[in-house]
């Protein structure tokens, strides 16, 4: 049974009723099996977050079909409860008064009681035992990210979706995070879909790679992608093209600024050399 099966997925953002909109995903099809760790790579604006938003039921007006554990998410949204989601890192307001334990327990919403053992286990998994009474705003960016992972893990999901979780954290924290997701995948047998710009980390950790650039131009074994110079060259070129396209669109239509990012990575050298 496929954990995730996506067929002919397309999504277009409608900025206003008069425009034809901005197509972000076109005919994406892929699937992952139990125990897979899929690295999703692609420049900013390539559609990674949009893909995840469709899979999580946050965006509903997509074309195509998304099945999680063989259930169409449009017909059975309860299946989404099997997913743990960690969004892009945003710093949490320092004044936010909730403790680590209160945040992690939010992952158990819908359950009749909050098991303290489960909370402790989740915090131990992310190496934050003993920090449960600290205010989340007082923690470092890396620690906050681990709290969010604990929140995602506490309801024992079978699938984790991580959207660029290590943006704006230091290298040491990134490395700890990579070990953590590797352990979760291998020891706890949790299937993981992980968007990242860190090609080196994806090469080392992911079992499969999907390369997105609004269209999907590769989905398969990690080793096959990184051994193929032609694919990596295509990836670099498509990143550059999307970056330029984003700039042109931003100049034409101020609305599109929200959907593009001036920090899109420009691979001036071969990505394989960035390791």
């Amino acid at each position: 049974m496929a954990v995730v099966s996506v067929t002919d997925l397309s999504y277009t953002y409608q900025f206003n009723t008069n425009s034809s909109g901005s197509s972000v995903l076109k005919d994406i099809s892929f699937s992952i099996n139990e125990g897979d760790l899929l690295g999703v790579i692609g420049p900013n604006g390539a559609g990674k977050t949009t893909l995840f938003s469709c899979m999580l039921g946050l965006l509903k007006n997509y074309k195509g079909e998304i099945k999680i554990f063989d259930q169409d998410i449009r017909k059975n949204s309860f299946v989404l409860q099997n997913i743990g989601y960690i969004p892009q890192q945003k710093s949490i307001d320092q004044g936010f008064p909730a403790t680590v334990q209160e945040i992690v327990s939010l992952g158990l919403i819908g359950r009749k009681s909050v098991s303290k053992d489960k909370l402790a286990d989740a915090l131990q998994m992310v190496d934050l035992s003993g920090q449960n009474q600290r205010r989340i705003g007082e923690l470092s960016g890396g620690q906050q990210q681990r709290v969010l992972i604990a929140k995602a893990l506490v309801h024992e999901p079978k699938l984790l979706i991580l959207d660029e979780p290590t943006t704006s954290v230091d290298v040491e924290t990134q490395n700890k995070f990579y070990s953590l997701i590797k352990n979760l995948n291998q020891k706890n047998n949790i299937s993981i879909i992980w968007a990242s710009h860190d090609l080196d980390a994806v090469n080392k950790i992911a079992s499969k790679v999907m390369c997105l650039n609004r269209n999907m131009f590769f989905h398969g074994e990690t080793s096959k992608f990184f051994a193929n110079d032609e694919l990596i060259r295509m990836y670099s070129e498509s990143s550059m093209q999307l970056h330029m396209h984003s700039h042109l669109n931003a100049n034409k239509n101020p609305d599109s600024i929200q959907r593009t990012d001036n920090d899109a990575p420009m691979y001036t050298s071969h990505p394989a050399n960035m390791k």
């Binding site: 946050l58 989601y85 909730a98 403790t99 939010l106 919403i109 929140k151």
Partner: protein, 284 residues
């Protein structure tokens, strides 16, 4: 003298109403402040002002008309935020000035401010009737019970709407419900604090509590203690000094805020001095 004051039935009504209003405003206010919606209280109270004027103009019990107008305004403001391109602060400004404009037009039509309308603007202890008190108690009880029941869901949408949505929470419905509850809290506070100062009761105790509270629940409890103390002392002082209670209550809560900021900066400095001394002695 304080015990003597407590013998008066209007003071008993004012104090009882004050306690429940303070507790309700602090609990609702904590979510509003953390959701960056501190000015919603102002917008809702000004919309309620329009509703009060409608009630006084049509000789309907004004708190009922204020309730209807304020709830409609709260739903309107949420709809504006969710479905149009109007920025949230602009939506608040629109609602605030619309309520005030309706109120002013109706006041002009009825020939000027009446004593009753003035008491709603600045708050009054003497004018809290038994009918007002029953309404205040019912509104506050309803708001507190619903917030307690939906506490974790409300914390979740305050922390992250997207993550709450992924967990299966009906975020849009909960937003409408919460703003509706906030408008009920505003209506319950109108008699005591007055239209012009309600948002301070919603915001200031929570800002103070957030400096000390470790955890959402503890912060809410500290905020309730600060708000209830300010309201109780404020009501007694305003009676003794014959001043509008709203102003005294807000000044007291500001005094507590300033005191807390001073204490915090002193303790922070002492802690950092101690840390410096420890580091120096360790280095030596």
């Amino acid at each position: 003298m304080v015990f003597e004051i407590l013998q008066y039935s209007f003071m008993q009504r004012a104090l009882l109403s004050g306690v429940v209003v303070a507790a309700t405003c602090s609990v609702v206010g904590l979510f509003l402040v953390l959701r960056r919606q501190s000015l919603f209280g102002d917008a809702l109270s000004h919309a309620a002002f329009g509703g009060l004027a409608v009630g006084l103009f049509t000789s309907i019990y004004p708190l009922w008309t204020a309730l209807v107008v304020s709830v409609l305004a709260s739903l309107g403001i949420t709809k504006l935020r969710q479905s149009t391109r109007i920025p949230p602060d602009a939506a608040v400004a629109i609602m605030l000035s619309s309520g005030l404009a309706v109120g002013i037009v109706l006041i002009s039509l009825s020939g000027g401010f009446s004593l009753d309308l003035e008491s709603f603007l600045f708050g009054s202890i003497l004018l809290i009737s038994m009918q007002d008190q029953i309404m205040i108690l019912i509104l506050c009880a309803a708001v507190l019970l619903i917030v307690i029941k939906l506490y974790r869901q409300l914390v979740y949408i305050t922390f992250s709407e997207d993550q709450a949505r992924v967990s299966g929470i009906n975020v849009s419905g909960l937003n409408y419900l919460f703003i509706g509850l906030a408008s009920l809290a505003v209506i319950a506070s109108l008699r005591l604090v007055g239209v012009l100062l309600i948002s301070s009761l919603i915001v200031i105790p929570n800002i103070t509590a957030m400096m000390f509270g470790k955890g959402f629940k503890k912060t809410a409890i500290i905020s309730i203690i600060i708000a209830v103390s300010s309201v109780l002392v404020g009501i007694v002082v305003s009676y003794i000094a014959n001043l509008a209670p709203g102003g005294i209550i807000v000044l007291l809560s500001i005094f507590i805020l300033l005191g807390s900021i001073s204490i915090r900066s002193i303790t922070k400095k002492t802690k950092s001095d101690k840390d410096d001394i420890t580091s120096l002695s360790e280095a030596a």
